[in-house]
Symmetry: C2
Subunit: 318 residues, 2 copies
Protein backbone atom coordinates (compact mmCIF):
# COMPACT_ATOMS: atom_id res chain seq x y z
CA UNK A 1 0.00 0.00 0.00
CA UNK A 2 2.82 2.40 0.77
CA UNK A 3 4.11 4.41 -2.17
CA UNK A 4 7.87 4.42 -2.63
CA UNK A 5 9.21 7.87 -1.83
CA UNK A 6 9.87 9.94 -4.93
CA UNK A 7 13.52 10.78 -5.48
CA UNK A 8 14.98 14.28 -5.64
CA UNK A 9 17.73 14.57 -8.27
CA UNK A 10 19.84 17.70 -8.20
CA UNK A 11 21.65 19.13 -11.22
CA UNK A 12 24.69 16.89 -10.80
CA UNK A 13 22.62 13.71 -10.50
CA UNK A 14 20.58 14.65 -13.55
CA UNK A 15 23.70 15.42 -15.62
CA UNK A 16 25.06 12.05 -14.66
CA UNK A 17 21.94 10.15 -15.70
CA UNK A 18 21.53 12.25 -18.86
CA UNK A 19 24.63 10.60 -20.32
CA UNK A 20 22.64 7.41 -20.65
CA UNK A 21 19.62 9.02 -22.32
CA UNK A 22 19.22 9.28 -26.11
CA UNK A 23 17.36 12.58 -26.16
CA UNK A 24 16.68 12.64 -29.91
CA UNK A 25 15.24 9.12 -29.79
CA UNK A 26 13.09 10.18 -26.82
CA UNK A 27 11.79 13.23 -28.71
CA UNK A 28 11.09 11.08 -31.78
CA UNK A 29 9.05 8.68 -29.66
CA UNK A 30 7.29 11.62 -27.99
CA UNK A 31 6.35 13.41 -31.19
CA UNK A 32 5.10 10.20 -32.81
CA UNK A 33 2.73 9.93 -29.83
CA UNK A 34 1.90 13.64 -30.22
CA UNK A 35 1.04 13.17 -33.89
CA UNK A 36 -1.25 10.28 -32.99
CA UNK A 37 -3.08 12.29 -30.34
CA UNK A 38 -1.75 10.19 -27.48
CA UNK A 39 -0.46 13.11 -25.40
CA UNK A 40 -2.13 16.17 -23.85
CA UNK A 41 -0.31 19.47 -24.15
CA UNK A 42 -1.88 22.39 -22.25
CA UNK A 43 -0.57 25.90 -22.95
CA UNK A 44 2.37 27.12 -20.89
CA UNK A 45 1.42 29.64 -18.20
CA UNK A 46 3.46 32.75 -17.44
CA UNK A 47 3.15 34.38 -14.01
CA UNK A 48 4.83 37.69 -13.21
CA UNK A 49 6.52 37.99 -9.84
CA UNK A 50 5.50 41.09 -7.88
CA UNK A 51 7.74 44.20 -7.81
CA UNK A 52 9.40 43.34 -11.17
CA UNK A 53 11.31 40.51 -9.54
CA UNK A 54 10.99 38.31 -12.63
CA UNK A 55 8.50 35.66 -13.63
CA UNK A 56 7.93 31.95 -13.75
CA UNK A 57 6.57 29.72 -16.49
CA UNK A 58 4.69 26.54 -15.76
CA UNK A 59 4.95 23.82 -18.41
CA UNK A 60 2.81 20.73 -18.10
CA UNK A 61 2.00 17.69 -20.15
CA UNK A 62 0.47 14.22 -20.10
CA UNK A 63 1.95 11.12 -21.75
CA UNK A 64 -0.94 8.67 -21.75
CA UNK A 65 0.90 5.56 -22.93
CA UNK A 66 3.87 6.14 -20.68
CA UNK A 67 1.42 6.46 -17.77
CA UNK A 68 2.89 9.73 -16.52
CA UNK A 69 2.22 13.42 -16.39
CA UNK A 70 4.10 16.29 -14.89
CA UNK A 71 4.75 19.95 -14.37
CA UNK A 72 7.94 21.94 -14.83
CA UNK A 73 8.31 25.28 -13.06
CA UNK A 74 10.89 27.55 -14.64
CA UNK A 75 11.47 30.83 -12.83
CA UNK A 76 13.46 33.79 -14.04
CA UNK A 77 14.41 35.56 -10.82
CA UNK A 78 16.01 38.98 -10.80
CA UNK A 79 18.46 39.53 -7.98
CA UNK A 80 20.86 42.40 -7.27
CA UNK A 81 23.56 40.38 -9.05
CA UNK A 82 21.47 39.78 -12.18
CA UNK A 83 18.84 37.51 -13.63
CA UNK A 84 18.87 33.76 -13.16
CA UNK A 85 16.86 30.96 -14.76
CA UNK A 86 16.20 27.72 -12.92
CA UNK A 87 13.90 24.79 -13.62
CA UNK A 88 12.40 22.05 -11.49
CA UNK A 89 10.17 19.22 -12.70
CA UNK A 90 7.66 17.07 -10.86
CA UNK A 91 6.83 13.74 -12.55
CA UNK A 92 3.67 11.90 -11.44
CA UNK A 93 2.05 8.57 -12.19
CA UNK A 94 -1.20 8.62 -14.13
CA UNK A 95 -2.59 5.59 -12.32
CA UNK A 96 -1.86 6.72 -8.79
CA UNK A 97 -1.68 10.51 -8.97
CA UNK A 98 1.43 10.19 -6.80
CA UNK A 99 4.81 11.82 -7.48
CA UNK A 100 7.52 9.58 -8.95
CA UNK A 101 10.40 12.03 -9.23
CA UNK A 102 11.43 15.61 -8.56
CA UNK A 103 14.42 16.87 -10.49
CA UNK A 104 16.42 19.89 -11.40
CA UNK A 105 15.67 20.36 -15.07
CA UNK A 106 17.81 23.19 -16.33
CA UNK A 107 20.15 20.85 -18.21
CA UNK A 108 17.20 18.70 -19.30
CA UNK A 109 15.61 21.82 -20.79
CA UNK A 110 18.72 22.57 -22.84
CA UNK A 111 18.82 18.94 -23.89
CA UNK A 112 15.18 18.63 -24.93
CA UNK A 113 15.29 21.96 -26.75
CA UNK A 114 18.29 20.90 -28.82
CA UNK A 115 16.98 17.36 -29.35
CA UNK A 116 13.65 18.74 -30.60
CA UNK A 117 15.44 20.95 -33.12
CA UNK A 118 17.57 17.98 -34.15
CA UNK A 119 14.46 15.88 -34.76
CA UNK A 120 13.04 18.68 -36.90
CA UNK A 121 16.31 18.88 -38.85
CA UNK A 122 16.20 15.14 -39.43
CA UNK A 123 12.62 15.36 -40.69
CA UNK A 124 12.96 18.56 -42.74
CA UNK A 125 16.51 18.99 -44.02
CA UNK A 126 17.41 17.65 -47.42
CA UNK A 127 19.13 14.29 -47.23
CA UNK A 128 22.25 15.72 -48.87
CA UNK A 129 22.41 18.82 -46.68
CA UNK A 130 26.13 19.51 -46.35
CA UNK A 131 26.63 23.00 -44.91
CA UNK A 132 25.53 23.74 -41.38
CA UNK A 133 25.51 27.16 -39.70
CA UNK A 134 24.84 27.75 -36.02
CA UNK A 135 24.09 31.24 -34.75
CA UNK A 136 24.78 31.37 -31.02
CA UNK A 137 27.61 29.86 -29.00
CA UNK A 138 26.12 29.24 -25.56
CA UNK A 139 25.24 25.88 -24.00
CA UNK A 140 22.05 25.56 -26.06
CA UNK A 141 23.94 26.19 -29.30
CA UNK A 142 26.57 23.58 -28.41
CA UNK A 143 23.83 21.08 -27.51
CA UNK A 144 22.25 21.75 -30.91
CA UNK A 145 25.58 21.04 -32.58
CA UNK A 146 26.05 17.82 -30.63
CA UNK A 147 22.61 16.45 -31.56
CA UNK A 148 22.58 17.59 -35.19
CA UNK A 149 26.12 16.43 -35.95
CA UNK A 150 25.28 12.73 -36.61
CA UNK A 151 22.17 13.45 -38.68
CA UNK A 152 23.69 14.45 -42.00
CA UNK A 153 27.09 14.01 -43.69
CA UNK A 154 28.08 17.62 -42.95
CA UNK A 155 30.99 18.89 -45.02
CA UNK A 156 31.22 22.31 -43.38
CA UNK A 157 30.05 23.73 -40.07
CA UNK A 158 30.26 27.42 -39.21
CA UNK A 159 29.46 29.00 -35.87
CA UNK A 160 28.79 32.66 -35.32
CA UNK A 161 27.55 34.73 -32.40
CA UNK A 162 27.80 38.32 -31.27
CA UNK A 163 31.23 38.93 -29.76
CA UNK A 164 32.30 35.40 -30.68
CA UNK A 165 35.91 36.51 -31.07
CA UNK A 166 36.11 36.88 -27.28
CA UNK A 167 35.29 33.17 -26.92
CA UNK A 168 37.39 31.99 -29.86
CA UNK A 169 40.02 30.10 -27.87
CA UNK A 170 37.57 28.38 -25.57
CA UNK A 171 35.40 27.32 -28.46
CA UNK A 172 38.33 26.09 -30.53
CA UNK A 173 39.51 23.96 -27.64
CA UNK A 174 36.04 22.61 -27.11
CA UNK A 175 35.15 21.92 -30.73
CA UNK A 176 38.55 20.99 -32.16
CA UNK A 177 37.93 17.29 -31.95
CA UNK A 178 34.73 17.34 -34.00
CA UNK A 179 34.80 16.40 -37.69
CA UNK A 180 34.41 18.53 -39.64
CA UNK A 181 36.03 21.04 -37.30
CA UNK A 182 33.57 23.92 -36.90
CA UNK A 183 34.80 27.26 -38.21
CA UNK A 184 34.32 30.20 -35.90
CA UNK A 185 33.08 33.10 -37.99
CA UNK A 186 32.85 36.76 -37.03
CA UNK A 187 30.36 37.71 -39.68
CA UNK A 188 26.80 36.38 -39.62
CA UNK A 189 26.21 36.76 -43.34
CA UNK A 190 29.37 34.79 -44.07
CA UNK A 191 28.33 32.09 -41.59
CA UNK A 192 25.04 31.45 -43.37
CA UNK A 193 26.16 32.35 -46.91
CA UNK A 194 25.65 28.95 -48.51
CA UNK A 195 24.30 27.04 -45.53
CA UNK A 196 21.72 24.32 -46.13
CA UNK A 197 20.68 24.37 -42.48
CA UNK A 198 20.84 27.37 -40.11
CA UNK A 199 20.20 26.76 -36.41
CA UNK A 200 19.30 29.96 -34.58
CA UNK A 201 20.21 29.40 -30.93
CA UNK A 202 20.18 32.90 -29.50
CA UNK A 203 18.26 34.67 -26.79
CA UNK A 204 17.67 37.58 -29.14
CA UNK A 205 14.36 39.37 -29.05
CA UNK A 206 14.88 40.83 -32.54
CA UNK A 207 15.85 39.25 -35.87
CA UNK A 208 19.36 37.84 -36.14
CA UNK A 209 18.82 36.87 -39.79
CA UNK A 210 17.77 39.54 -42.25
CA UNK A 211 15.44 38.75 -45.15
CA UNK A 212 18.18 38.71 -47.78
CA UNK A 213 20.09 35.99 -45.92
CA UNK A 214 17.15 33.56 -46.13
CA UNK A 215 17.47 31.67 -49.41
CA UNK A 216 15.15 29.11 -51.06
CA UNK A 217 16.03 25.57 -50.03
CA UNK A 218 17.53 26.70 -46.72
CA UNK A 219 16.17 25.24 -43.46
CA UNK A 220 16.14 27.73 -40.57
CA UNK A 221 15.31 26.62 -37.04
CA UNK A 222 14.51 29.02 -34.20
CA UNK A 223 14.06 28.74 -30.46
CA UNK A 224 14.24 32.39 -29.36
CA UNK A 225 13.41 33.28 -25.75
CA UNK A 226 10.32 33.57 -23.63
CA UNK A 227 10.44 37.37 -23.70
CA UNK A 228 7.14 38.63 -25.10
CA UNK A 229 7.20 38.77 -28.89
CA UNK A 230 10.83 37.69 -29.09
CA UNK A 231 11.78 36.48 -32.56
CA UNK A 232 14.95 35.53 -34.42
CA UNK A 233 13.72 36.08 -37.97
CA UNK A 234 11.72 38.98 -39.46
CA UNK A 235 7.99 38.26 -39.03
CA UNK A 236 7.36 39.13 -42.67
CA UNK A 237 9.59 36.22 -43.70
CA UNK A 238 6.87 33.75 -42.70
CA UNK A 239 4.73 34.49 -45.75
CA UNK A 240 7.62 33.44 -47.98
CA UNK A 241 8.65 30.28 -46.11
CA UNK A 242 7.42 26.75 -45.51
CA UNK A 243 6.48 27.14 -41.86
CA UNK A 244 6.55 24.31 -39.32
CA UNK A 245 6.53 24.35 -35.51
CA UNK A 246 6.68 22.03 -32.51
CA UNK A 247 2.97 22.23 -31.60
CA UNK A 248 0.38 23.96 -33.75
CA UNK A 249 -2.16 24.37 -30.95
CA UNK A 250 0.07 26.43 -28.65
CA UNK A 251 3.18 27.78 -30.38
CA UNK A 252 1.54 30.21 -32.85
CA UNK A 253 -0.14 31.95 -29.91
CA UNK A 254 3.16 32.92 -28.28
CA UNK A 255 6.03 32.72 -30.79
CA UNK A 256 6.93 36.38 -31.41
CA UNK A 257 7.30 36.29 -35.19
CA UNK A 258 4.02 34.35 -35.50
CA UNK A 259 2.12 36.74 -33.24
CA UNK A 260 3.50 39.72 -35.17
CA UNK A 261 2.93 38.13 -38.59
CA UNK A 262 -0.67 37.31 -37.57
CA UNK A 263 -1.29 41.03 -37.16
CA UNK A 264 -0.35 41.48 -40.81
CA UNK A 265 -2.36 38.79 -42.50
CA UNK A 266 -0.33 35.66 -41.93
CA UNK A 267 -2.47 32.87 -40.53
CA UNK A 268 -1.57 29.99 -38.24
CA UNK A 269 -3.48 27.86 -40.72
CA UNK A 270 -0.52 28.49 -43.04
CA UNK A 271 1.61 26.22 -40.82
CA UNK A 272 2.35 23.20 -43.00
CA UNK A 273 2.80 20.84 -40.10
CA UNK A 274 3.87 20.51 -36.52
CA UNK A 275 6.47 18.13 -35.22
CA UNK A 276 3.89 15.52 -34.27
CA UNK A 277 2.50 15.53 -37.81
CA UNK A 278 6.03 15.45 -39.25
CA UNK A 279 7.05 12.54 -37.04
CA UNK A 280 3.99 10.58 -38.18
CA UNK A 281 4.48 11.40 -41.86
CA UNK A 282 1.22 13.35 -41.88
CA UNK A 283 2.68 16.77 -42.75
CA UNK A 284 3.21 18.20 -46.23
CA UNK A 285 6.86 18.18 -47.26
CA UNK A 286 8.53 21.58 -47.73
CA UNK A 287 8.05 23.06 -51.19
CA UNK A 288 11.40 23.29 -52.92
CA UNK A 289 11.16 26.87 -54.13
CA UNK A 290 11.04 28.34 -50.64
CA UNK A 291 13.10 28.45 -47.51
CA UNK A 292 11.77 26.36 -44.63
CA UNK A 293 11.29 27.54 -41.05
CA UNK A 294 10.90 25.40 -37.94
CA UNK A 295 9.95 27.20 -34.73
CA UNK A 296 9.86 25.60 -31.30
CA UNK A 297 8.73 27.24 -28.08
CA UNK A 298 9.48 24.25 -25.90
CA UNK A 299 6.67 22.04 -24.62
CA UNK A 300 5.71 20.60 -21.28
CA UNK A 301 5.41 17.15 -22.85
CA UNK A 302 9.14 17.36 -23.70
CA UNK A 303 9.96 18.16 -20.08
CA UNK A 304 7.81 15.29 -18.86
CA UNK A 305 9.39 12.90 -21.37
CA UNK A 306 12.91 13.89 -20.31
CA UNK A 307 12.06 13.51 -16.62
CA UNK A 308 10.63 10.07 -17.41
CA UNK A 309 13.82 9.07 -19.26
CA UNK A 310 15.90 10.18 -16.28
CA UNK A 311 13.56 8.29 -13.96
CA UNK A 312 13.90 5.13 -16.06
CA UNK A 313 17.69 5.29 -16.21
CA UNK A 314 17.76 4.36 -12.58
CA UNK A 315 15.67 1.23 -12.91
CA UNK A 316 17.77 0.14 -15.90
CA UNK A 317 21.07 0.84 -14.14
CA UNK A 318 23.23 -2.17 -13.41
CA UNK B 1 27.34 27.51 -2.96
CA UNK B 2 25.56 24.17 -2.77
CA UNK B 3 21.84 24.35 -2.19
CA UNK B 4 20.52 22.19 0.62
CA UNK B 5 18.47 19.35 -0.84
CA UNK B 6 14.74 20.00 -0.68
CA UNK B 7 12.86 17.60 1.56
CA UNK B 8 10.07 15.28 0.47
CA UNK B 9 7.31 15.00 3.06
CA UNK B 10 4.75 12.28 2.58
CA UNK B 11 1.21 12.39 3.95
CA UNK B 12 2.18 11.05 7.37
CA UNK B 13 5.02 13.55 7.80
CA UNK B 14 2.78 16.40 6.75
CA UNK B 15 0.01 15.35 9.16
CA UNK B 16 2.55 15.26 11.93
CA UNK B 17 3.86 18.75 11.26
CA UNK B 18 0.36 20.13 10.67
CA UNK B 19 -0.39 19.69 14.36
CA UNK B 20 1.99 22.54 15.08
CA UNK B 21 0.54 24.91 12.45
CA UNK B 22 -2.20 27.44 13.23
CA UNK B 23 -3.93 27.31 9.87
CA UNK B 24 -6.44 30.09 10.57
CA UNK B 25 -3.67 32.44 11.72
CA UNK B 26 -1.71 31.54 8.57
CA UNK B 27 -4.71 32.32 6.36
CA UNK B 28 -5.28 35.61 8.20
CA UNK B 29 -1.68 36.61 7.58
CA UNK B 30 -1.98 35.49 3.95
CA UNK B 31 -5.17 37.39 3.19
CA UNK B 32 -3.87 40.55 4.84
CA UNK B 33 -0.98 40.35 2.37
CA UNK B 34 -3.50 39.60 -0.41
CA UNK B 35 -5.54 42.66 0.46
CA UNK B 36 -2.42 44.81 0.36
CA UNK B 37 -1.39 43.51 -3.06
CA UNK B 38 1.66 41.70 -1.74
CA UNK B 39 0.87 38.33 -3.33
CA UNK B 40 0.38 37.17 -6.93
CA UNK B 41 -2.48 34.79 -7.62
CA UNK B 42 -2.66 33.42 -11.18
CA UNK B 43 -5.81 31.54 -12.21
CA UNK B 44 -5.91 27.81 -11.56
CA UNK B 45 -5.43 25.68 -14.69
CA UNK B 46 -7.47 22.57 -15.45
CA UNK B 47 -6.03 19.94 -17.81
CA UNK B 48 -8.07 16.95 -18.95
CA UNK B 49 -6.32 13.61 -19.04
CA UNK B 50 -6.71 11.74 -22.36
CA UNK B 51 -9.28 8.94 -22.74
CA UNK B 52 -11.51 10.31 -19.94
CA UNK B 53 -9.01 9.21 -17.34
CA UNK B 54 -9.66 12.27 -15.17
CA UNK B 55 -7.99 15.65 -14.95
CA UNK B 56 -5.48 17.65 -12.99
CA UNK B 57 -5.60 21.19 -11.66
CA UNK B 58 -2.50 23.29 -11.23
CA UNK B 59 -2.65 25.92 -8.48
CA UNK B 60 0.16 28.43 -8.16
CA UNK B 61 0.92 31.52 -6.16
CA UNK B 62 3.63 33.93 -5.09
CA UNK B 63 4.13 35.28 -1.55
CA UNK B 64 6.50 38.21 -2.06
CA UNK B 65 7.23 39.04 1.57
CA UNK B 66 7.68 35.43 2.58
CA UNK B 67 10.14 35.08 -0.30
CA UNK B 68 8.50 31.96 -1.71
CA UNK B 69 6.34 30.78 -4.55
CA UNK B 70 5.00 27.41 -5.51
CA UNK B 71 2.80 25.13 -7.51
CA UNK B 72 0.35 22.49 -6.35
CA UNK B 73 -0.70 19.75 -8.75
CA UNK B 74 -3.96 18.08 -7.84
CA UNK B 75 -4.99 15.20 -10.08
CA UNK B 76 -8.32 13.42 -10.14
CA UNK B 77 -7.45 10.04 -11.62
CA UNK B 78 -10.09 7.55 -12.65
CA UNK B 79 -9.10 3.92 -12.17
CA UNK B 80 -11.10 0.72 -12.50
CA UNK B 81 -11.73 0.89 -8.75
CA UNK B 82 -13.03 4.47 -8.85
CA UNK B 83 -11.86 8.08 -8.79
CA UNK B 84 -9.06 9.32 -6.56
CA UNK B 85 -7.84 12.82 -5.72
CA UNK B 86 -4.24 13.45 -4.74
CA UNK B 87 -2.22 16.63 -4.31
CA UNK B 88 1.48 17.42 -4.35
CA UNK B 89 3.07 20.81 -3.77
CA UNK B 90 6.43 22.21 -4.79
CA UNK B 91 7.64 25.20 -2.73
CA UNK B 92 10.46 27.35 -4.18
CA UNK B 93 12.55 30.28 -2.99
CA UNK B 94 11.97 33.61 -4.70
CA UNK B 95 15.61 34.66 -4.35
CA UNK B 96 17.17 31.50 -5.70
CA UNK B 97 14.51 29.91 -7.89
CA UNK B 98 15.44 26.62 -6.20
CA UNK B 99 13.02 24.16 -4.60
CA UNK B 100 12.74 24.23 -0.80
CA UNK B 101 10.20 21.49 -0.21
CA UNK B 102 8.05 18.91 -1.95
CA UNK B 103 5.09 17.62 0.02
CA UNK B 104 1.93 15.61 -0.16
CA UNK B 105 -0.78 18.23 0.20
CA UNK B 106 -4.08 16.42 0.35
CA UNK B 107 -4.48 17.05 4.09
CA UNK B 108 -3.08 20.56 3.69
CA UNK B 109 -5.77 21.25 1.10
CA UNK B 110 -8.52 20.19 3.49
CA UNK B 111 -6.91 22.29 6.20
CA UNK B 112 -6.49 25.46 4.15
CA UNK B 113 -10.00 25.16 2.73
CA UNK B 114 -11.53 24.93 6.21
CA UNK B 115 -9.24 27.60 7.66
CA UNK B 116 -10.16 30.00 4.85
CA UNK B 117 -13.85 29.48 5.54
CA UNK B 118 -13.19 29.98 9.27
CA UNK B 119 -11.42 33.27 8.57
CA UNK B 120 -14.42 34.39 6.50
CA UNK B 121 -16.77 33.38 9.32
CA UNK B 122 -14.68 35.37 11.78
CA UNK B 123 -14.78 38.43 9.51
CA UNK B 124 -18.43 38.17 8.42
CA UNK B 125 -20.55 36.47 11.08
CA UNK B 126 -22.31 38.58 13.67
CA UNK B 127 -20.37 38.72 16.92
CA UNK B 128 -23.26 37.11 18.77
CA UNK B 129 -23.83 34.33 16.25
CA UNK B 130 -25.02 31.39 18.34
CA UNK B 131 -26.44 28.73 16.05
CA UNK B 132 -24.16 26.90 13.65
CA UNK B 133 -25.22 24.44 10.95
CA UNK B 134 -22.86 22.32 8.91
CA UNK B 135 -24.04 20.55 5.77
CA UNK B 136 -21.68 17.71 4.97
CA UNK B 137 -20.00 15.20 7.25
CA UNK B 138 -16.78 14.27 5.49
CA UNK B 139 -13.22 15.25 6.43
CA UNK B 140 -13.65 18.79 5.05
CA UNK B 141 -16.83 19.32 7.06
CA UNK B 142 -15.16 18.12 10.24
CA UNK B 143 -12.17 20.39 9.59
CA UNK B 144 -14.59 23.29 9.15
CA UNK B 145 -16.17 22.46 12.50
CA UNK B 146 -12.78 22.27 14.21
CA UNK B 147 -11.65 25.67 12.94
CA UNK B 148 -14.96 27.49 13.39
CA UNK B 149 -15.64 26.15 16.88
CA UNK B 150 -13.44 28.65 18.81
CA UNK B 151 -14.58 31.69 16.83
CA UNK B 152 -17.99 32.37 18.37
CA UNK B 153 -19.75 31.37 21.60
CA UNK B 154 -21.88 28.77 19.80
CA UNK B 155 -24.94 27.63 21.75
CA UNK B 156 -26.09 25.03 19.24
CA UNK B 157 -24.40 23.12 16.43
CA UNK B 158 -26.29 20.92 13.99
CA UNK B 159 -24.76 18.67 11.34
CA UNK B 160 -26.60 17.25 8.39
CA UNK B 161 -25.58 15.36 5.28
CA UNK B 162 -27.23 13.02 2.83
CA UNK B 163 -27.43 9.54 4.37
CA UNK B 164 -26.04 10.88 7.63
CA UNK B 165 -27.99 8.29 9.62
CA UNK B 166 -25.62 5.62 8.31
CA UNK B 167 -22.71 7.48 9.93
CA UNK B 168 -24.55 8.44 13.12
CA UNK B 169 -22.58 6.24 15.51
CA UNK B 170 -19.19 7.10 14.11
CA UNK B 171 -19.97 10.82 14.18
CA UNK B 172 -21.37 10.70 17.70
CA UNK B 173 -18.23 8.98 18.92
CA UNK B 174 -16.06 11.49 17.14
CA UNK B 175 -17.94 14.64 18.13
CA UNK B 176 -19.21 13.69 21.59
CA UNK B 177 -16.47 15.52 23.43
CA UNK B 178 -17.13 18.88 21.78
CA UNK B 179 -19.13 21.54 23.62
CA UNK B 180 -21.80 22.14 22.64
CA UNK B 181 -22.22 18.55 21.45
CA UNK B 182 -23.19 18.72 17.76
CA UNK B 183 -26.64 17.35 16.97
CA UNK B 184 -26.84 14.99 14.04
CA UNK B 185 -29.88 15.93 12.03
CA UNK B 186 -31.57 13.96 9.26
CA UNK B 187 -33.43 16.86 7.76
CA UNK B 188 -31.58 19.70 6.05
CA UNK B 189 -34.31 22.29 6.63
CA UNK B 190 -34.35 21.48 10.33
CA UNK B 191 -30.55 21.73 10.49
CA UNK B 192 -30.51 25.28 9.13
CA UNK B 193 -33.89 26.39 10.53
CA UNK B 194 -32.64 29.16 12.80
CA UNK B 195 -28.93 28.95 12.06
CA UNK B 196 -26.89 32.15 12.12
CA UNK B 197 -24.09 30.51 10.17
CA UNK B 198 -24.43 27.67 7.64
CA UNK B 199 -21.27 26.02 6.37
CA UNK B 200 -21.85 24.13 3.13
CA UNK B 201 -19.15 21.47 2.94
CA UNK B 202 -20.43 19.13 0.26
CA UNK B 203 -19.20 17.96 -3.10
CA UNK B 204 -22.62 18.60 -4.56
CA UNK B 205 -22.88 19.97 -8.06
CA UNK B 206 -26.44 21.21 -7.47
CA UNK B 207 -28.01 23.33 -4.71
CA UNK B 208 -28.18 21.79 -1.25
CA UNK B 209 -29.97 24.85 0.17
CA UNK B 210 -33.18 25.98 -1.46
CA UNK B 211 -34.11 29.65 -1.67
CA UNK B 212 -36.64 29.52 1.15
CA UNK B 213 -34.03 28.24 3.61
CA UNK B 214 -31.81 31.30 3.10
CA UNK B 215 -32.97 33.96 5.58
CA UNK B 216 -31.82 37.58 6.07
CA UNK B 217 -29.00 37.82 8.58
CA UNK B 218 -27.79 34.28 7.87
CA UNK B 219 -24.19 33.74 6.75
CA UNK B 220 -23.77 30.90 4.23
CA UNK B 221 -20.34 29.68 3.19
CA UNK B 222 -19.71 27.42 0.19
CA UNK B 223 -16.77 25.49 -1.18
CA UNK B 224 -18.46 23.14 -3.69
CA UNK B 225 -16.27 21.05 -6.01
CA UNK B 226 -14.18 21.63 -9.07
CA UNK B 227 -16.76 20.00 -11.33
CA UNK B 228 -17.73 22.51 -14.02
CA UNK B 229 -20.53 24.81 -12.82
CA UNK B 230 -20.89 23.01 -9.49
CA UNK B 231 -22.79 25.08 -6.94
CA UNK B 232 -24.28 24.55 -3.50
CA UNK B 233 -26.84 27.38 -3.55
CA UNK B 234 -29.29 28.42 -6.30
CA UNK B 235 -27.54 30.89 -8.63
CA UNK B 236 -30.52 33.24 -8.43
CA UNK B 237 -29.91 33.63 -4.69
CA UNK B 238 -26.86 35.80 -5.42
CA UNK B 239 -28.94 38.82 -6.41
CA UNK B 240 -30.57 38.76 -2.97
CA UNK B 241 -27.44 38.23 -0.88
CA UNK B 242 -24.36 40.14 0.27
CA UNK B 243 -21.80 38.29 -1.82
CA UNK B 244 -18.15 37.82 -0.84
CA UNK B 245 -15.49 35.44 -2.11
CA UNK B 246 -11.89 34.42 -1.54
CA UNK B 247 -10.42 36.19 -4.59
CA UNK B 248 -12.40 38.53 -6.80
CA UNK B 249 -10.04 38.26 -9.77
CA UNK B 250 -10.35 34.50 -10.23
CA UNK B 251 -13.28 32.97 -8.30
CA UNK B 252 -16.20 34.60 -10.18
CA UNK B 253 -14.84 33.11 -13.42
CA UNK B 254 -15.18 29.52 -12.22
CA UNK B 255 -17.56 29.30 -9.24
CA UNK B 256 -20.65 27.58 -10.68
CA UNK B 257 -23.34 29.75 -9.14
CA UNK B 258 -21.44 32.90 -10.16
CA UNK B 259 -20.93 31.72 -13.73
CA UNK B 260 -24.62 30.80 -13.99
CA UNK B 261 -25.84 34.00 -12.29
CA UNK B 262 -23.65 36.05 -14.66
CA UNK B 263 -25.63 34.64 -17.56
CA UNK B 264 -28.75 36.12 -15.98
CA UNK B 265 -27.66 39.65 -15.20
CA UNK B 266 -25.72 39.25 -11.96
CA UNK B 267 -22.34 40.94 -12.19
CA UNK B 268 -19.05 40.12 -10.50
CA UNK B 269 -18.91 43.82 -9.73
CA UNK B 270 -21.71 43.07 -7.25
CA UNK B 271 -19.20 41.22 -5.06
CA UNK B 272 -18.92 43.35 -1.93
CA UNK B 273 -15.45 42.22 -1.08
CA UNK B 274 -12.98 39.42 -1.26
CA UNK B 275 -11.16 37.87 1.63
CA UNK B 276 -8.11 40.07 1.12
CA UNK B 277 -10.25 43.19 1.29
CA UNK B 278 -12.13 41.83 4.32
CA UNK B 279 -8.90 40.96 6.15
CA UNK B 280 -7.62 44.51 5.59
CA UNK B 281 -10.90 46.16 6.60
CA UNK B 282 -11.35 47.50 3.08
CA UNK B 283 -14.60 45.68 2.25
CA UNK B 284 -18.14 46.91 2.85
CA UNK B 285 -19.79 45.17 5.79
CA UNK B 286 -22.81 42.97 5.01
CA UNK B 287 -26.10 44.85 4.87
CA UNK B 288 -28.34 43.64 7.67
CA UNK B 289 -31.50 43.06 5.63
CA UNK B 290 -29.96 40.32 3.51
CA UNK B 291 -28.36 36.96 3.89
CA UNK B 292 -24.61 36.89 3.32
CA UNK B 293 -22.72 34.47 1.07
CA UNK B 294 -19.03 33.65 1.12
CA UNK B 295 -17.69 31.52 -1.72
CA UNK B 296 -14.21 30.07 -1.91
CA UNK B 297 -12.72 28.11 -4.80
CA UNK B 298 -9.39 27.49 -3.09
CA UNK B 299 -6.31 29.43 -4.12
CA UNK B 300 -2.76 28.56 -4.99
CA UNK B 301 -1.51 31.20 -2.52
CA UNK B 302 -3.20 29.20 0.25
CA UNK B 303 -1.40 26.05 -0.84
CA UNK B 304 1.92 27.88 -0.97
CA UNK B 305 1.31 29.42 2.46
CA UNK B 306 0.50 26.04 4.00
CA UNK B 307 3.57 24.43 2.44
CA UNK B 308 5.65 27.29 3.84
CA UNK B 309 4.17 26.77 7.32
CA UNK B 310 5.01 23.08 7.13
CA UNK B 311 8.49 23.94 5.91
CA UNK B 312 9.01 26.35 8.81
CA UNK B 313 7.82 23.89 11.44
CA UNK B 314 10.98 21.95 10.90
CA UNK B 315 13.34 24.83 11.50
CA UNK B 316 11.40 25.77 14.65
CA UNK B 317 11.35 22.21 15.95
CA UNK B 318 13.18 21.59 19.19
Amino acid sequence: MTQPSPAWLDAAAVENRMKRVDAVAAMRDLFEAHGQGRVAQPPQVLTLLPDSRGDFITYSGVLAEDGVFGVKVSPYVITPSGGKVTATTMLLGLETGQPLLFCDSLALTTERTAATTALAVDLLAQSDAANLAIIGSGPIALAHLRHVLPLRPWRRIRIHSRNISAKQEILEARLGELRPVPEIVNDCSRAVADADVVLLCTSSGTPVLSMELIRPGMLVTSISTNVARAHEIPPEALTRMNVYCDDRSTTPLIAGEMVLASENGWSRDDIRGDLGELACGKAQAPSAGRATFFRSMGLGIEDVKMALEIHRVNSHAS
